[in-house]
């Protein structure tokens, strides 16, 4: 029959085109994938880190997932950036460019001679507008470890669901790529970037466990994909400075979602809100007159959408701040009691972060102190005028400082019975103590959770 033969030929063509093309598609797209290696230097240790990255432009710029570098690590502690092609042991030098506040991505730039071999991921972006849908088949790339020369491998799975967290995200039935690596359609179009995988609940049965619930997270592969429509517009967010600045700041630290039951009782139809509290004194929010208990209903006229789970709206509100710039004016519609208010907030620049704070390690004493930040004032529930002292950033195990009972994040108020004015003064005093070979002891006044303690630190 003529009719059925046409169909058969059609199917056969489709199958053969996929089967024939996929290896070639993979080979071509490996040029957008790299392995990145670097070292995090702490006071007493060097931690080697390897991560997978995706190429975003023809300048050799690579993005890495935010989680590869802990947030308190200063850029100065990062060194030895190397980039590798998948399956190659050849090292290429690279430089660290900083972290973007909105996406959390770290940006790294590979050396000149490598750039021509790298292809920006946007080159594989499709022209179609259909987007990824539930049930679509996707494939992606994973990389093995350094011992195996970061050899690439392929994973594929089907889109199980699409949700907004608050960015449009696909969750696949199985792991589809290494975190930070791209995912493609069967035709080879860029479909999205794999994020860190979600935890999965399992029950553990063994000699000692009779069905103990455990949460497992696959650190090497992920089934969660940030869709291309969300990822592509953000690829250009290369930090202007290694600190990630400028960063918009509002100064509200307590953000809690309004759940549907509360929304119903407050007669908020089909929308969500965020209850705000813990407003930093002197912050843009405080200056604009925002108050504890205000419920933010809309940002610049856009009502806060309802997300599932409720907590996602908090991330949404946070993103709405950091996607703007210091100096921008943002209009918040808030519910205060039963009245609605329109409050305009001029966003400020994020106060100094822990990773930017001046710090110094005193090896003989066994501690690193860093300057006291606005954020420390918030954590310590201290008054805004109370800014003296320094914060314990690191303690060397079994050192004099650690043995005396100090703990990380203790707030040092006095050294040898004299109040510490600022970081410079603390460093000067501690340096003098460290340099004095005849010193047998010194005394600190440390504050922890609002309670102080006089600590005698014995030197030997």
């Amino acid at each position: 029959m003529k009719f059925s033969r046409i169909i058969l030929i059609g199917v056969a063509l489709l199958i053969s085109s996929r089967a024939a093309d996929l290896p070639a598609l993979i080979q071509e797209r490996l040029a957008s994938v790299v392995a990145v290696e670097f070292v995090i230097q702490t006071e007493v240790e060097r931690h080697p880190v390897t991560a997978a990255g995706t190429v975003i432009d023809d300048q050799g710029t690579i993005i890495l997932p935010g989680s590869v570098i802990p947030p308190t690590i200063a850029p100065g502690q990062l060194s030895g950036f190397k980039v590798y092609h998948p399956g190659s042991s050849e090292e290429h030098e690279a430089a660290y460019l900083g972290q973007d506040a909105l996406t959390g991505w770290h940006f790294v730039r590979a050396e000149e001679r490598m750039r021509k071999e790298l292809v920006p991921i946007a080159k594989f972006a499709g022209t179609g507008t259909a987007g990824t849908r539930m049930g679509d088949e996707l494939w992606g790339i994973g990389l093995r470890g350094k011992q195996e020369d970061f050899v690439p491998y392929v994973l594929s799975s089907r889109v199980a669901m699409i949700a907004r967290f608050p960015n449009e995200t696909a969750v696949l039935a199985q792991d589809v790529a290494g975190p930070g690596l791209p995912v493609f359609t069967p035709a080879g179009q860029f479909a999205g970037l794999a994020l860190n995988s979600f935890g999965q609940n399992f029950l553990l049965f063994s000699q000692n466990h009779n069905g103990t619930p455990i949460l497992l997270v696959n650190a090497e592969e992920s089934s969660v994909v940030l869709l291309a429509a969300e990822a592509l517009p953000q690829l250009g967010r290369i930090p202007q400075a290694v600190t990630g600045r400028p960063m918009a700041w509002i100064g509200v630290y307590g953000l809690q979602p309004v759940d549907p039951e509360v929304a119903k009782l407050l007669k908020l139809e089909k929308q969500s809100g965020v209850v705000i509290s813990d407003i930093m004194a002197g912050s843009p929010a405080a200056q604009a007159g925002l108050q504890d208990r205000d419920i933010v209903l809309a940002i610049d006229g856009q009502p806060l959408p309802r997300f599932k789970p409720d907590q996602v709206v908090v991330t949404y509100a946070g993103q709405e701040i950091v996607r703007r710039h210091p100096g921008d004016v943002i209009a918040l519609s808030v519910l205060r009691g039963t009245e609605r208010h329109e409050i305009k907030v001029t966003l400020g620049d994020e106060p100094k972060m822990i990773r930017e704070a001046s710090r110094r390690y005193f090896e003989k004493l066994g501690l690193t102190v860093r300057e006291f930040l606005k954020y420390d004032g918030l954590m310590n529930r201290s008054s805004p005028e109370d800014t003296g002292g320094v914060v314990v950033h690191f303690l060397k195990p079994n050192s004099p400082a650690a043995s005396a009972g100090l703990q990380p994040n203790d707030w040092l108020r006095e050294i040898d019975g004299v109040p510490v004015k600022d970081y410079a003064e603390a460093v000067e005093k501690l340096a003098a103590i460290e340099a004095d070979a005849a010193r047998r002891e010194f005394v600190l006044l440390a504050s922890r959770n609002g309670e102080t303690q006089v600590l005698r630190i014995k030197l030997n």
Partner: protein, 425 residues
């Protein structure tokens, strides 16, 4: 002489009782009944029994005492003091008379005269084994041992030192007497290190006698509070240029407390209290100093002689009534919620702005509170838009919910961060 042959010791044995307590505890937002076994010693002809605060507490709904004759009688709580882990109960004398039951009472010895190495006996009900006698020695007669949450979350041990003994003390010995060979009570056995070998602790009889007298009269001990958290001066005398055996180090000053208002600062050295010299060099010297302060009348003016660097200061403060970190508790069954008043001490400990609000200590799965998402540790600050200052206030809202169930808006704070919940029928 063996203790067993002493008349005093035999009399003591007749005065030791087993105590079975049935009590209501608040768990997962509902009131539940639990039971426990402890020991006690009869100390008077009118049937007063000394035991531990962690054996017989105000949560007890039924206290039953087994006398040496193995007869059981009911008893009621007379007084309770978690700070020293002491409680006084009294047997039902009417019942005793009706049933013609007899008992003897024990005599106290002088705990201040004890010396390390002296033989002592512990008598009690370890693991329910009624009338068990164990023997040991006084291992230390002046051991500091404080625990800010030792007795069901209540503070213990700030105002007294303890007798340490190697006489075997196990769960159930609690509240039983520690006695000398002639059967005189020198301590009330209270606690032991679990898993350690024979490290037991007893409240010295000198303290037990004093506290029990107050408990019999008033039901509780009123103490004064200044807000000083003392530290040990040991090895710091040179740093503070002090003659040895002088002064008490101020480790911390509770925010908003009488001494904070008086201007006392951490790192200050208190040399005198109302003119009396103070010596806080070693840890065991601190509870007696704390007790000196606690014994002052509430609301009395105190003069502190203070050394700050090379300066000498005189500060005056007015004492407040000492409060526990644990406030009164209440169960709201229809909500599946148990709550506790936020005490000043709890507010300070958690750096809350004030002591208003009510702390969630239990939520029962499937009930309105749990379904709303509120959790243990949250502090309820408003209900239906009105501030909640006290338990009674919350109770009113609960009652109107019970009378006419309708969704109610609840505001709670966690780490000072405010969130909203709805309790709905």
């Amino acid at each position: 002489m063996y203790a067993a042959t002493s008349r005093g010791f035999n009399r003591l044995l007749d005065a030791v009782v087993r105590i079975d307590v049935r009590e209501t505890t608040i768990e997962d937002g509902a009131q539940r009944f639990t039971g426990g076994i402890g020991s006690g010693v009869i100390i008077s002809a009118d049937g007063l029994i000394l035991t531990n605060a962690h054996v017989a507490s105000p949560l007890a709904v039924e206290i039953s005492v087994t006398l040496a004759s193995l007869e059981r009688v009911n008893a009621k709580l007379i007084g309770w003091d978690h700070w020293t882990d002491l409680a006084v109960i009294q047997v039902d004398l009417g019942d005793l008379r009706r049933r013609k039951l007899k008992f003897t009472y024990a005599e106290f010895g002088d705990s201040n005269a004890l010396t390390p190495g002296e033989t002592v006996y512990a008598v009690g009900t370890p693991y329910g084994l009624t009338r068990t006698v164990t023997r040991g020695i006084i291992s230390n007669n002046n051991r500091p041992f404080e625990d800010p949450r030792g007795i069901r979350g209540y503070e213990v041990g700030m105002f007294n030192n303890w007798l340490q003994t190697d006489a075997a003390i196990n769960p159930g010995n609690s509240g039983g007497p520690l006695v000398t060979e002639d059967g005189r009570v020198v301590g009330i056995n209270s606690r032991a290190y679990i898993g350690a070998d024979n490290l037991g602790f007893a409240i010295p009889s000198a303290i037990a006698q004093r506290v029990s007298q107050i408990l019999v009269k008033k039901g509780s001990v009123t103490r004064s509070y200044l807000g000083i958290v003392p530290g040990v001066l040991q090895d710091l005398e040179r740093f503070y240029s002090l003659a040895s055996n002088t002064g008490m180090l101020v480790n911390s000053v509770d925010p908003g407390s009488p001494v904070a208002r008086a201007g006392l600062r951490p790192g200050d050295i208190v040399l005198t209290l109302n003119g009396q010299k103070i010596d806080g060099r070693f840890p065991e010297q601190l509870p007696p100093i704390q007790n000196l302060i606690a014994d002052l009348p509430v609301g009395s003016a105190v003069k502190l002689g203070v050394k700050r660097g090379s300066q000498s200061l005189e500060l005056s403060a007015v004492t407040e009534k000492l409060e526990s970190r644990v406030g009164e508790e209440m169960v709201l069954e229809k909500w599946g919620l148990s709550v506790r008043r936020v005490s000043r001490a709890f507010a300070r400990e958690n750096q809350l702005t004030d002591d208003s609000g009510v702390l969630v200590i239990g939520v029962q799965g499937g009930y309105p509170a749990a379904l709303s998402g509120i959790a243990v540790g949250d502090i309820i600050s408003k209900v239906a838009g009105e501030p909640i200052g006290t338990l009674a206030h919350l109770q009113e809202h609960y009652q109107s919910y019970v009378d006419k169930p309708a969704p109610v808006l609840v505001e709670a704070q966690r780490n000072r961060r405010i969130a909203l919940y709805v309790f709905k029928p």
